[in-house]
Symmetry: C2
Subunit: 342 residues, 2 copies
């Protein structure tokens, strides 16, 4: 069965029939011109949107529709987490070619609903439209936060330590494996389970919502964002927004044994992935040095997530520099994922 | 200059550099992971999104990029107006092929900014991404409303009168002219200025925000929506949501002299356009009969917009019927614009 067999309204009914709302604050959900939501005055509203486009962010051959649905929620949750907030309501805008299999759309929504449930998000509306030949899913996410917990890109201060959650580079290493299925990695002693783990990092990213709430509530951090375009590019954004410089140490950047092994097997530096690869969806934040140990331990204890200190905020005139593993200090190339150019 | 010459970040800087924020409630606008907005507790939040996709909703040959930008704001404002609300903040998600001319994107944003200014909307965020070969613009709009003014599709009551603003059918008549540039209308006495007016109705729709606020504040109406898929289809949505039936009189449906003349010139009934054409963005609302005259006069006086009574809400078991100009009563074909099927 294809979309042209059931039409737009048939599709909407099918997709929305088992949407359950978790919060009494949703006055009107799917099924009217707009969604209606009750607000709480003492909180700020957080608004974000992020999209996945076939041919740009994914191909049907390399990601399942279920993973696709989960991922579009995850990348938006990551943006709300980046500010220390709590995701609340989502609207889904989806473009579909006429010959799309209905079961394919069902699977996308299955992933969206599963992930929304995990993060307690209400799907309150959206829009389905005919797209000529590519699928895209645009998700609009509303979150909220108490004003005193809000963390921005613009708050970093000289002498702050720079910290990141998890490992960096797994997602872009995974993407490289996905895009080069004929890479004969087995031949060069790259274990199959490593391959699976890296691909998984790209296909099913895990936004750091719990970790971000711990950071926000601690009141230790001065700035925060999520790493979606690559550490180098995103650190530059914090520096620009905060009007500061930074130094990081290459050897301190957390890289998984899988990315290390993969980089070795193809004869590249793992830091290519960790510094300039995109879609890690880890948190990058800066805090005064006296709180570094406390926050690392607290996050590790409560979430099992590793947090690593990788550098320090400097004056703006210092620029953004990296100390390489060989001890050499150079300006950091702050390129990362850049649409249109790449 | 094409997008690949300036890249994503160059584009974002260019597009966002002259965004001015009108409201002190926007704590953080463009330039962080999310937008941050202060809420007012006594109000409800309204959330909506609507999209324009190249090849589905427009072609580059038939709409200017400036009109495109204006239109994507207008169709979303229309959704907020449909509930009686006030638009507040917008996020713009745009997909662009690599070889798009930068000036083309500038023009789109010119239209978006102009229209946002007109309706006092703050552009607080968004997302730019590479699209393989089609442009699309997805706009998310946040509005607000006092709970007691909120009008839903679900409030229509038997004996309510059914009213519409403006004329119906101009937009779809205009679309027909746009899609058939070789129609020799001049030959058959269809005036050129008529043609321009109908095309304009399709390319530059005018959401009925002022009118909707008058209706909402009057507290007369029981239900409301905007006509985007066509009167027949949208009336059916009110009936379904309200669990009622309806009767309308064909001869009462307001049709412009331009659509009348155009329909005549191509040998079709004008009601094809007025009943089943989409994108009118007029308001469809139901109110008890004792208030019909008052609201019609009030809207006419304050906005110069014509309001017409076209029918009456009935019990559900009555169904949805139309009395044709020849006096015959038949079930109303409630089809309208339906993605995928059409």
């Amino acid at each position: 069965m294809e979309l042209k067999d059931i039409g737009e309204f048939g599709l909407i009914k099918r997709l929305t029939k088992n949407i359950t709302l978790y919060k009494e604050r949703v006055i009107v959900g799917v099924g009217d011109d707009v969604a209606v939501v009750k607000t709480e005055a003492e909180k700020y509203l957080l608004l974000t949107c992020d999209i996945l486009i076939e041919g740009t962010h994914f191909t049907k051959e390399t990601i399942t529709p279920y993973q696709l649905g989960k991922k579009v929620v995850a990348i938006n949750v990551s943006d709300i987490a980046a500010k220390g907030g709590i995701p609340k309501q989502a609207l889904i805008s989806i473009g579909l070619p006429k010959d799309t299999k209905v079961v394919y759309v069902d699977e996308i929504y299955g992933g969206i609903k599963e992930q929304s449930k995990k993060f307690n998000i209400d799907i309150v509306g959206g829009n389905t439209a005919l797209s000529k030949d590519k699928i895209f899913i645009d998700l609009f996410l509303v979150g909220e936060i108490k004003p005193d917990l809000l963390l921005l890109r613009s708050g970093a201060k000289p002498d702050d330590k720079i910290l990141v959650t998890g490992n960096l580079g797994d997602s872009s290493a995974g993407l490289k494996i996905i895009e080069n299925q004929d890479l004969k990695l087995e031949d060069i002693k790259f274990e199959k389970k490593y391959k699976t783990k890296l691909k998984q990092a790209h296909l099913s990213p895990n936004p750091r919502l719990l970790e971000s709430r711990i950071i926000a509530k601690s009141n230790f951090a001065n700035s925060m964002m999520d790493i979606s375009d690559g550490l180098s590019s995103d650190l530059a954004k914090i520096c620009e927004a905060s009007n500061v410089g930074a130094i990081i140490w290459e050897e301190k950047i957390p890289v998984s044994k899988e990315t290390l092994a993969f980089a070795k097997s193809i004869g590249k530096s793992p830091f290519n992935f960790a510094l300039h690869g995109g879609e890690d969806y880890e948190l990058l934040f800066t805090i005064p040095k006296e709180n570094v140990e406390i926050i690392i331990k607290k996050i590790q204890r409560e979430t099992k997530t590793k947090v690593t200190e990788i550098g320090e905020i400097k004056d703006r005139k210092f620029g953004i520099k990296i100390v390489k593993t060989n001890g050499e200090m150079t300006p950091l190339n702050t390129y990362g994922w850049n649409h249109f150019k790449t």
